[in-house]
Amino acid sequence: MEYYEGIKTPALRMIYRAIISVQRFVCYICAIALPLIITYQVVLRYVLKAPLMGIEELLTFFIIWLYMMSGSVASERRCHIECGILTLYIKNEKTIKIFKCFKSIFSFIICAWLTRWAFWYFQYSLGLWKTSGILKIPMFFGESSMFLGLAFMLFFAALEVIDSIRELIAFLKEGKRV
């Protein structure tokens, strides 16, 4: 089941669906294009003896978009790596819930801070409008991925904060009733 099916607010649900469509589309494109382009270059070099200049350069755009967008996919699926040891010793459910709240808020703050700097970079790149060495592709088309990837990650980090707070409140309410 997709996460957005549980979102009540129509506007939010629409934004969510738009974001995941974009990120997944970009990821599929990059994940398919990268091996194909690289294999194509090998074939050009060995079979046709005519490697293309600029393919390396073209690859960098796909590479960075793959990394940043798949990073936001990992945020959406909540599958970033964690290696908690201390948390294993927390047995009390209320403590777990509170702890989760803190964790998600902390992650959100860090992500917001990083996004801010990525935005600085976004503006910097837009202002300079550099172009790549051989194909003359504007570097902005690659560099903007840092900001967009982090912005998407921030969006999902925010949802995680909301979820964890909701869970905690629900748990506390239930506890009172019992």
């Binding site: 070099r45 003896k49 490697p51 293309l52 200049m53 600029g54 393919i55 390396e56 350069e57 910097y124 300079l128 550099k130 172009t131 790549s132 060495g133 051989i134 570097m139």
Partner: protein, 326 residues
Amino acid sequence: GCGSGADSSNQAQEQKEEQTVTLSLAHIRPVGSTADLAIQAFAEEATELSGGTLQFEVYPASQLGDYTTVQERVGIGDVDMQIASLGSNLDKVFAMSNAAYLCSTWDEAKVMFAGNSPLIEIYKEKMAKYNMTYLASYPLYFGGIALNTDPVDPTNPNARSGIKIRVPAMSTFEKTATTLGYLATPLASSEMFTSIQTGVVNGAIGAGAEMYYGNLSGLVKYYLPINDHFEQWYMYINTDKWNSLSDNQRNALQTAADNMQKARWDVAEGETDEYEQKLRDSGTIVVDYTDEQLGEFAKVVREAVWPAIAEEYGTENFEAVTNSIK
């Protein structure tokens, strides 16, 4: 009232001059290399000339990123200074320094890169546009081709060997390699060693004896010193930082930079011979070229490559620069 006001502004002026500044200075060679020692000496001299008010934190070996990245970091102001080649990421004209046979002898090079030559003037102006201030330049070497296979008629610029060689991702190198009958293969510099070792390519263009000796030790069977390009580094500082320095500090920095440049021109040519000898000692065959043969190479490459790359740097710029040695 008035008097004390003037007094305090005077004091502020003096304080500004006395302020000790630590400058971060990045370069691309390892600690202890010739270039590193020259840069350390420059830093010491600048510190001394400034009466200790200029201090340096030297970051060797591209620790702060490859030179194109550090160039941008200098423009931004996170790194104060760099001494390295100029990357063309900010402006294509910065790649002109690497253009094939811009100069072909040491005498020409000295004219081409003199302090007020057309090339340096263009660079000063362009650097200013990106918030960088030119200080000095640092000549490295003339480039050539390294092969780990037998060359085909290496003294003939019109030979067609079809040997696959690694070219840096710049059109001037690609076109030069193709013109000289090689198969230009673009590969990242980080993959140069393994790709030559395994035979993905059989050689490289884009560096000189020093780099081949250091980076490809044991893999170079032939070295063809055809002087295809001149490797020149530039020392520059973030403009805001430059403006914040006192006159005394600026003088110290400029003087030390000029001295470094001068000292380098005195030894650069000899160093090329030294590294070619080191290559020979390690078993590489270094092909000897007569001046006429080198002239023939320059002629053939200039005819084929220049028209194709001039536009990239701005034809007007390129002509001004190439005319300066005629």
